[in-house]
């Protein structure tokens, strides 16, 4: 029982969150940020499998998120709502809360398939080549989506709110929060079990020394492709949730900047550290939201002290100066990130007494 203390605390915290949301104690803004934390956790942790544990360098992870977002959105709109594109709903909207996991699963599988398509040609090469190919894949995916007019093209795609409303029509509980929490827990558990299994050890063997891995009988190509598929599938899942939390998707939301956010979270947390990357995802989400308030404050302060000419404003665009700056400072002073390649339980061994995770 003692060994499960932290698990129980996490579980109670999740339940408390849902109850608080239901009771209206949390406003929509706080809720959205909480959900984005979960989504970023999934996105960063899945990227960490390729960039951290496997030591490859994937730069276009948001491309797979985009695939998942569109597949999930199209499915949920087509299945549960009446839309111009698909006409009448294929299934009664009352089924939405029960069949929504299928939508998420489909988004995961299709993204994993895209991962396979990208991985097959690129894993005959290594290092920089993979980085270039994944960036290219990111651009290709976005261009394709933007050029299909039926799904909105550059205007984006919406209608997922209706699915959520259909869910609320059945039982009025904070559905999206619940789906995000469940998906995050599933992703983290799958990733943890994968990297601690012997198969996962094969992944880090490939990372360290491909020749050595091969002469121990590890099918290096298969291990790499498998890990890449798991990673892109989870990115797709996070994309599908992202689309439903917003109720609107636009391909440009998944451009190279989003991929960079993923890289920042992985390097901030420490490559090959699951707990580190999760912490980094939470911190990073908070940091971005804090900048939303901090930048106008800075602007006012600078004007009040008349350090800035009156016609010059510090706008939100400065976010994209501050975030890269964080990355530069990080590389300068703590290149290994929060935890390096260690886990929280390695740094605080006593935690192991309180948590049960396998």
């Amino acid at each position: 029982m003692q060994r499960r203390t932290l698990n129980i605390i996490f579980f109670l915290a999740a339940v408390a969150l849902v109850v608080a949301a239901q009771a209206g104690l949390l406003d929509n803004y706080t809720l959205t940020i909480l959900m984005f934390m979960g989504i970023n956790c999934m996105f960063a942790a899945s990227l960490n499998l390729v960039n951290g544990y496997m030591g490859e360098f994937s730069c276009g992870h948001a491309g797979f998120m985009c695939v998942g977002a569109y597949v999930g959105s199209l499915m949920s709109v087509g299945l549960f709502t009446s839309s111009k594109l698909f006409g009448a709903p294929l299934l009664p909207p009352e089924l939405a809360p029960f069949l929504f996991p299928l939508v998420l699963l489909a988004a995961t599988l299709v993204s994993a398939l895209f991962g396979l398509i990208v991985a097959l040609p690129s894993f005959h090469t290594r290092d920089d080549y993979l980085a270039i190919i994944t960036i290219a894949a990111n651009y290709i995916i976005i261009s394709i989506v933007e050029n299909i007019d039926a799904i909105g093209g550059p205007r984006g795609f919406s209608g997922m709110k209706k699915t959520i409303n259909a869910m609320h029509g059945v039982i009025d509980i904070p559905w999206m929060l619940i789906w995000v929490i469940i998906s995050t827990v599933v992703c983290i558990t799958v990733l943890y079990r994968l990297v601690t299994s012997t198969y996962g050890k094969g992944i880090s063997a490939v990372c360290q020394n491909e020749v050595a891995a091969e002469i121990m009988g590890v099918n290096t190509n298969r291990v790499k492709i498998m890990a890449f598929m798991v990673s892109s599938g989870m990115a797709g899942l996070s994309g599908a949730l992202y689309a439903h939390v917003y109720g609107y998707v636009n391909a440009q939301a998944f451009n190279i900047l989003k991929s960079t956010e993923g890289l920042v979270m992985v390097y901030l947390g420490g490559m090959g550290s699951l707990s580190g990357v999760l912490l980094a995802a939470i911190v990073f989400t908070l940091l971005i939201e804090m900048l939303r308030f901090f930048i106008p404050m800075l602007n006012d302060a600078l004007h009040a002290l008349s350090l800035l000419p009156a016609d010059l404003e510090v706008s939100q665009i400065w976010k994209w100066v501050i975030i890269p700056l964080v990355l530069i400072l990080l590389m300068q002073f703590r290149p290994e990130g929060f935890f390096g390649n260690r886990e929280l339980t390695h740094i605080f061994p006593r935690l192991r007494r309180w948590i049960y995770f396998r």
């Binding site: 063997a205 002469i215 190509n221």
Partner: protein
Amino acid sequence: MLCVTALKAAYGKIEALHGISFHVERGEIVTLIGANGAGKSTTLKALMRLTPPESPTVTGGDIAFEGKSILGMEGHNVVDKLKMTLVPEGRHIFGNLTVMENLTLAAWTRRRESPRKDIEHIFELFPRLAERARQRSNTLSGGEQQMLAVGRALMTKCSVLLLDEPSMGLAPLIMYDMFRTLKQLNSEGLTIVVVEQNAKLALQVADRGYVLDTGEIVAGGYSAELLQHLEIKAAYLGG
């Protein structure tokens, strides 16, 4: 058992082996000796079917294992199906893992079973590794790392072991120890192909040997004959 005929191998456009032929019988120790750049390591990498860019592409000839060509095979299948593996030059151990983790990882092809028994066997063979079981392997001495590399190869349950310069960077005493262990493993039934620059030492242990020079086999035969031959050509091989 292992039969190489007119093997040509190249790195990109540069041909490293110009058609070499040799054979290895079950239970033998065979050594390939020669100077730097003679193509010894290239031969082993070609045998292991490792992929470019580190390894050569076979451009001609054939490698047959028990009569069947293995040119279409991949490295991990050579380990898994043929039970042949390599102790690479420079050891290639997993530096940030402990000795124990290195050995456990090497039982990858049998990952459903517990590797405990096999690890104990390795520890009997190399007691020094048992003392260092929980130590990160990049903190080991050169000799211990070489023991770990051999131990790790044995964990794959191989019946043919290829070694690339096992004596490199070792103190003479440890070097002799290593070859004594190889001899012991051979008497237990392991077939060994060892590449060496230290020709005398290798020929003392091996049953037969081949001398490579710039991608061609220039001499071959029983170790005793080669040793005599060597003494005549001491200068040529650098004694």
